[in-house]
Symmetry: C2
Subunit: 187 residues, 2 copies
């Protein structure tokens, strides 16, 4: 268990950053919430920013891996998988402690477009876009880049709407929209 304390730190810090935000989470709060001493934190990461970047890297990995696995279990054709991504979204929204997309929030708190945290958030979205575009291409869509982007737009829209509007079901309406767009792109 040599480097595991570091991973444990990143894992727990990730939860706190996701729950409370980046600027609102001080290093002293992290000491309390993660159980890792401040001295140890600064042995592993030279700055708070580096710790945030590590947390975002972990989030990107675990989020995308589990999302893709979910999708691939639920559906098998590329077209069905595009649609299934919205069912995965709906499940996510129902989870306790759902607080929207960590990368949208990171981009919102670190707005300069050349900031490392902003860049890492952008990279995550680019990977998501690539995944949807790939599925659209495999599904035989006429303009896969366009359909992939539209699927992404619906997802991002649903994610932020699910945070702010409790009275509507964005995942359902987004899926219905995706179905229409998909039909039209395959016709």
């Amino acid at each position: 268990m040599r480097p595991n304390k570091r991973d444990e730190l990143v894992r727990n810090a990730l939860q706190v950053f996701y729950r409370d935000g980046f600027h609102a989470t001080g290093m002293d709060k992290l000491v309390v919430e993660t159980g890792v001493s401040k001295t140890s934190m600064y042995k592993h990461f030279r700055t708070k920013e580096e710790l945030i970047l590590a947390a975002l890297r972990l989030r990107d990995e675990s989020f995308r891996i589990s999302l893709l696995r979910q999708i691939e279990e639920m559906a098998h054709s590329p077209a069905d998988r595009l649609l299934a991504s919205f069912d995965a979204l709906a499940q996510w929204f129902e989870e306790d402690g759902y607080r929207g997309c960590m990368f949208i929030k990171a981009g919102a708190e670190y707005q300069e477009s050349d900031h490392p945290i902003h860049l890492q958030a952008a990279e995550h979205k680019r990977l998501m876009l690539d995944y949807f575009t790939d599925l659209a291409r495999k599904a035989g869509a006429r303009e896969p880049e366009k359909l992939g982007c539209q699927i992404l737009l619906l997802q991002e829209g649903a994610i932020v709407t699910a945070v702010l509007l409790k009275n509507c079901e964005p995942a359902r309406d987004a899926k219905a929209a995706a179905q229409v767009l998909l039909d039209q792109a395959l016709a």
Copy 2:
């Protein structure tokens, strides 16, 4: 010019909050950037939170008013106006200093769903949803609530995607998607 200093404060503070974020903007920075003394600020607003709420109120008003006017100038039928909203979006994305939606960011920095700032951000989105739903109804859509929500999802998705992904044109793809959804809802 009695109460105008207050309005000037709110107007300038709004710009700084939008540019730099809420937690990242301290009251001392606002003194420098707005030219209003700290004592005066606290004469007008008892807390930073009240100042933020006033800034958000102003933003909601001016943003919605100018957006609706733009839309109503560009198009005249309800259906065309739904589509024109994406042209207004595209123009917004091109503006210098575009930094996404202030209310999405407010909801991201103040995440507790009963927080006054979170509630105010949610109220803005609800008003936007109502507007689109109303247009969808007037356009004769089969399920106006559904179409209104889908338009909103595309808009929100485009807004956050325009912040993070510089290499694609979310407003264009969102408009094309809206066109398809609209056709299908009117058929």
